[in-house]
Every structure is written in C-alpha cells, then in structure tokens.
Symmetry: C2
Subunit: 430 residues, 2 copies
C-alpha cells in the first residue's frame, strides 16, 4: 500500500528529471554522499515532532533496533557528526519512507524520492541560505513548471511572535504545526484548532492571527522591525535582521520577484532553528485580480543549527541549511504534460535490430550482433532461430528502433550488410 | 552493522562503475524498471532456500506484513506476474538487504547494490541464456579487472546426476547447496557434509563426487552425453543437449575461451530450473603450470522458469533467465586500484571559484556567480563577506577547482574579470 512499481517509461522520464536536479546541485559545487536506508531507531527518534509515528520500524531479529530513514536530513546530520566533518556542501538523491496515508493521485506515496542539497559549516549569515533559495529558483525555472512562489519565514520570527502573544515556550512547536495548516485551511479553522486542541486563549490566538496572516517583501520586514512589541523581542529581531540581509542577497541574485516573506509558513519538523522556506506552484489559469492559487508544495527546507550537535558525543554544533526538492509531485506534473503532448517515450535506446530475411541464418545474426556490441552499438535481435522478416521489422516499429541491419545469403556472399531506415523504408548496402 | 556510508570519493567511483554496467545493459536493449525496497513478506518466503532466514522483516505496525527485498529477481518475477507481462528485457540497479554475517573487508555487506539484467519470455532455447553470458563477458572485459572465468552448469544436469546416484528427489535442493561449497572447501569436507549433515550414503556421495569434480568444454559435454547412466536420464539429457547448443552460440560470440562447463557449480537459490552460471576473477600472479586460483565471484545468474508462475493466480508461466553483477566486490577491486595509482578523485565538478581580492566586494561576487550559474557554469564562492584572496586560492587547490574568476575594484570599473588558471598561476583579463 502506498508504494508502486515504476515501469520503463516512468524510469526514463524520472531519470531525465533527476538529471536536471542533480545538474543544478553539481553546478553549485555539491558532492554526493550515500547513506543506508536503515538507520538506528534511536537516530530517528525525537527529530520529526508529531510525524515520528510515521517511521517504519524493523522487527527485532536480534542485534540493533533499526528503522527506515524518514528523510535525508537526519542521516546527513548523523554522517557529519560521526565523521567529525564541520564543513560540507552535499547532495543526496534517494528514497525515503513514511507510513503516511497515501494519496497516490496527488503524488503522495509511502516510498518516494527526495533530492536534497545542504550546506554545513560556520559561515557569514545568510550566504548559504540565499544559495539554497537560488537553487530552488533555478530548478523550478529549468523544469518550466509554470509560475511558482517561494515562501520564506524564520523560526525565530515565529517564536518571537508566539512569545509576544503570550504563548508559553512549551507550546511553540505544537502551535507551529497548527499555524502551518494556514495554506490548507482558512484562519477561522486554524484559530479554533489553536483554542480547542492546543489550549491557547482566544485572545492569544487572535493576536497570533494578526501576525501570521501577513506576507510581503522588504516592506513587511521593515514594518515588523518597527513593530512596538516584536522589536522588543530579541530572537524576533535577530530573525528579522537576517531576513533583511537575505532579501538583499536575493536581490543581487535577481530573484526577489518570486520570493514572499510569509509569516504563516511554519513547517512541521522539530529541527528547524532559523530560515524556513517552501516553494509552491501557482495555478496557471486565474481570473484577473484574483490571488494566484497554490497547487502544492514542490520544494522545502530551512536552517537546522542544532541537529548535528544532537549526534555528537560532545554536543559540538555544526550549523546547516538545506533544501529538499519534491520530485514526486514534479514528476506527476511532467508525466501529465508528456501524456498531453502525445510524446512517445521510448523504453530502450536500441539503435539497430540485427535481422535476417530467410531461414538458416542464425549464425550470421549472432556473429554480426556480437561485432556490433563489441563496437559499442546498441543492438538487439529476436530470440528465434528463424524469425520472419516482417516480424522483425514490426518489432522495430513497436519499440522505436530506427534501423535494421539485414544479412541474407546474398549479403553474406558479397560481404555487405543491408541497412534499412525503418521509418522511411529506405535501404543502403554497406 | 554491515552497512556503511559512502563518502563523495566513493560515490564518484561507484557512479563510474555503475555507468559502465548500465551502458552494457542498454547496449543489449534492456529497459529499466524500479520496484519498492519493501515487498510483502509472503512474496519473499519460500524463494531462497536456507537463506530465507536472512530476510529483514518489518515490524507489524498495522496493515500489511512487509520485508526488505533480498534480491531483484523475485521482485522482477512479481512485477511480471502482477502486470501480466510475458515478454521483457529489463535491467535494474538497486540496493538489496541480507541479514548475513558481514565480512566488510571482502566487500560483503548487509545493504549492497545489485545490477541485474533479465530476459523474460518464450523463446528458442539458449539464445537469451547465451546473451546473458555475453553480457558478463563484456562487462568484465570493459572494466579490465584482469583474467576471469565464467563457470556454467545446468540444474537439470545436476538433478540428473543426483538421480542416477540414487539420491531421492526430496534431497536434491539440500544436496545442491552442499555441492555448491566445492569452490570454497575440498571434496573430502563436502563429502563428509553430505554423509553427516545431509544423510546421504557414503556410496552415493562417492558417485556424486565422480561427476561434480569434472569441468571442461564441449568435450566434457560429449563425454557425458555418452555416459551410460546419465544418458538414460531424461532431464540430464535435456540439460546436456541445451548445454551443447549454448556452447555453439558462445562460440559464435567468440567467448568460449573464458567459459568452463563445471559440474561443481550448483548455486544455492531454490528458484533456478536450467542453466546456472557464476563468474570469478582469477588470481593474477600464478606459478607456471599451476591451476589459476579464484579470488571470488563477481557475477552470477541462471534460468528460473517457474518463479513468475508462483505469483500468477492461474500459475501462468513465464520463462526467465538473468544475470546479477556483483558490483560491491568489483568496487573494492577498483578502489584498491585507484589508491595504488595515486589518482586523486575529485568529489565535486566545480569549474570556477568566484573570488575577490579585497574587502567590500560581496555584491560583485554574488552578481557574477549568479550570472555563471544561470549560464550553466559550475561555480562556487566562499561563504564569507570578506575572504582573503589567499584563502580563496587555497580552496581551489584543496578541492581541485581549475579556475578562479577574480573581480576587484579595477576590474569592476573596466567591466572585466580576471580569470586565473590555478595550477599554472597564469591570469587573463576577459
């Protein structure tokens, strides 16, 4: 349930998509690592907030207690700590596992690919963070997925908002995950979850609502820096200062047009400590004057400065920021587009079929195809002793093989091969 | 335990190796599929003989009972049956999981890559089988791993041998796995396991011994076809007839020089029904006249005509033959070779570092690097506001970046960039 087999046409398309994403990661100087699908259970526990219950655990068959990785971020942090690495720019493309309710039509599976890029190390503020946003911008532009928006916020700003609204520290994380639902439900419902399930006072909820429903750019940052309450809060001020710097850098990259500072963005995971972001594709057809509707998140990430320290015996910290590209949702979109375009995706790359026009020529076919393979040419033949020529040519048409190399008695005698262009039905002797 | 993280230098090397293997699979017209790491437990049970105990099982967290795939063959057979596919040439490169005793120095892990190529369908005998052996020959030749030998046998011949030696059918499979140990232990020990653990009579064991210690080529096949006992056994005769045909095809491919018909080859898995084979690398330095010593299996496979039928509700059969390349062991060999050669494997592909010679030029760096990225150039910069030029050039040398693009006040004024060849210490203004 919630997993799927990928047939050849899928794999071909997906490999194209992954190649574009990996090309971007390499363009930004990232190195690849590979970590096991299996992690120690204790490595994963306490890192994913309410989502911890979605972790797949292995049966205790003796030895270590294991689980399947839930994302690529926690394994990366473990890798850095275990190997005492304090500076690294890495990417990883691999499958992760979540016992979620599958919604396969919307591209949500229990086994799915993640494509992660992360920058670890002590650096001047916001430079790696800005690069992560640049990467999201490049990938979504390269893939021509239509209009998109990258929402940005900062956990420190949110925490500051919660603090000045009178929420106790202990409720920050759970309030975060409620705020995070603002992209899926109206404020009224989010408010009632805050008051009902999370036990906030109606007054506090309303105060929060005044803040988290705002979004904008530099203007909003300036406005909040002047906010009488928020400007008194140390962490909020820090977050807002960094947000201003981030927008300056994004301006130099020329990409602020697609960035929105959005106070409703919270992201559910425990480990974020600073900037957080999420990219959404915008609905194509919209009425003039209407707010563009989001059709779903296709990338997300943020800063997690405390995670590596949780795995280091001495608690030694390594600040990190990273982004994860939601390849499955993008894949669904590309797949629909290919279907709509009528493009026929070939499952194989075979260049030539080695064929014979009559019986008793199997040896000639085997010798010729062997020569072609040894010369690096992608070649196939039918696994029949005496196939009919028509069947062989039909196979070319069915599978998109452009050429047939035909050897009959006459060709053998003359030491030539008849090369047939299958689509044009033209032949040359070579 | 038994798993490992792969650092960037590993991944670069491994990707090179996988690319060579996949290129060969594509050359032979295979299409790729991808199946989940998770399979239903019942799919895997009863397919791996004594090795079933090595399957990783997931905890029962509600829902289906799951396990991690043990190989790529059983998932492929399930895929064919589920999708009612009766003809397919496919490859798959993916990790598999075995709760084995890890021997990491010899490249044996609990999580490891398999590279599988399989041909499914009703075809004329031995044509797909011969292609599988050709593929092993091509890959081991392409990778220049030194001398190798591909041992070939047939389950039907082995079963015939067991039958004429008076072994009851019920003991065929367990006798098989004992015979299979002949490459690791001398006949005396194998014989005593047969008599002691497996309960064969000493006479039967000796009769088996007379057969399974033989290896050769066409001559041995002819000899066994004349064998008074074996020639009376129907399955053995079938197997020997096909073996003769196989050698004929391998002759046309020009590869019989590296193929040995070896009656001691048995392979442990339950599902094989016909031809089986295994490739071993031979020790490089050997004394003249000495038998070349095997240093381990690097590929193996065979025919499994009954497996797909086990997954089909109507028991509909699809004959299959396939090969699995033991990429981990080959990787260990290549890694040692790279180490010995002193080749420095770059972890990244960065072409240019964007650098500045003095302070207050961060904006210039950000603008230039953004232009480079947008032009598809692999570029990095240090994440510092005002890095020293020496530090920047040092970073190029440490990570193998060949060029530095330097912008200072003067360059900005003149609208140029100074491009420095890091190794030659030469600069041009462009």
């Amino acid at each position: 349930q919630g997993t799927r087999d990928h047939p050849p046409a899928h794999v071909v398309l997906r490999d194209r998509l992954l190649a574009a994403v990996v090309a971007c990661f390499k363009r930004h100087g990232a190195a690849a690592i590979d970590t096991p699908v299996l992690e120690l259970r204790e490595t994963l526990m306490g890192k994913y907030g309410e989502e911890t219950k979605l972790i797949y655990e292995l049966q205790d068959q003796g030895g270590e207690l294991l689980a399947l990785r839930y994302d690529l971020t926690v394994p990366f942090a473990r890798y850095l700590a275990m190997n005492k690495i304090s500076t690294m720019k890495r990417y990883q493309v691999a499958k992760v596992y979540r016992r979620d309710n599958p919604a396969t039509t919307r591209g949500r599976y229990r086994e799915f690919y993640q494509c992660d890029f992360d920058i670890a190390g002590w650096f001047d503020p916001m430079l790696p963070d800005a690069e992560c946003l640049k990467i999201v911008h490049e990938i979504l532009s390269d893939l021509q997925l239509g209009d998109f928006l990258i929402k940005v916020n900062d956990r420190r700003i949110l925490n500051g908002v919660f603090a000045v609204c009178g929420i106790p520290d202990s409720k920050f994380i759970s309030t975060c995950s409620t705020v995070d639902k603002l992209d899926k439900m109206p404020w009224e419902e989010v408010r009632s979850e805050m008051v009902g399930e999370k036990g906030l006072s109606p007054e506090a909820a309303d105060l929060i609502g005044d803040y988290v429903q705002r979004h904008g750019g530099l203007d909003l940052i300036e406005q909040l820096l002047q906010d009488p309450k928020l400007s008194q809060n140390k962490v909020a001020k820090e977050g807002l200062g960094d947000m201003k710097l981030l927008f300056e850098y994004l301006g130099l990259f020329g990409i602020t047009g697609k960035i929105s500072f959005d106070l409703s963005l919270a992201r559910g995971l425990d480990y974020y400590t600073g900037v957080i972001f999420e990219a959404v594709l915008l609905q194509q057809e919209k009425e003039p004057g209407e707010e563009p509707l989001s059709v779903g998140s296709v990338a997300g990430g943020g800063r997690y400065d405390g995670l590596v320290g949780m795995f280091d015996p001495k608690g030694r910290k390594v600040p990190c920021v990273g982004v994860s590209i939601g390849i499955e949702r993008i894949f669904s979109i590309l797949e629909q587009r290919v279907k709509a375009s009528g493009e026929k995706v070939r499952a194989t790359e075979t260049q030539v079929l080695v064929a014979t026009p009559h019986k008793h020529l199997l040896a000639a076919r085997l010798k010729l195809i062997s020569e072609l393979w040894d010369a690096g040419i992608k070649a196939e033949m039918l696994y029949k002793k005496d196939p009919k020529l028509l069947k062989q040519l039909q196979y070319c048409e069915d599978t998109g093989i452009p050429l047939a190399a035909i050897v009959g008695e006459q060709e053998l005698t003359e030491g030539v091969v008849k090369l047939r262009d299958v689509a044009r039905r033209e032949e040359v002797r070579i």
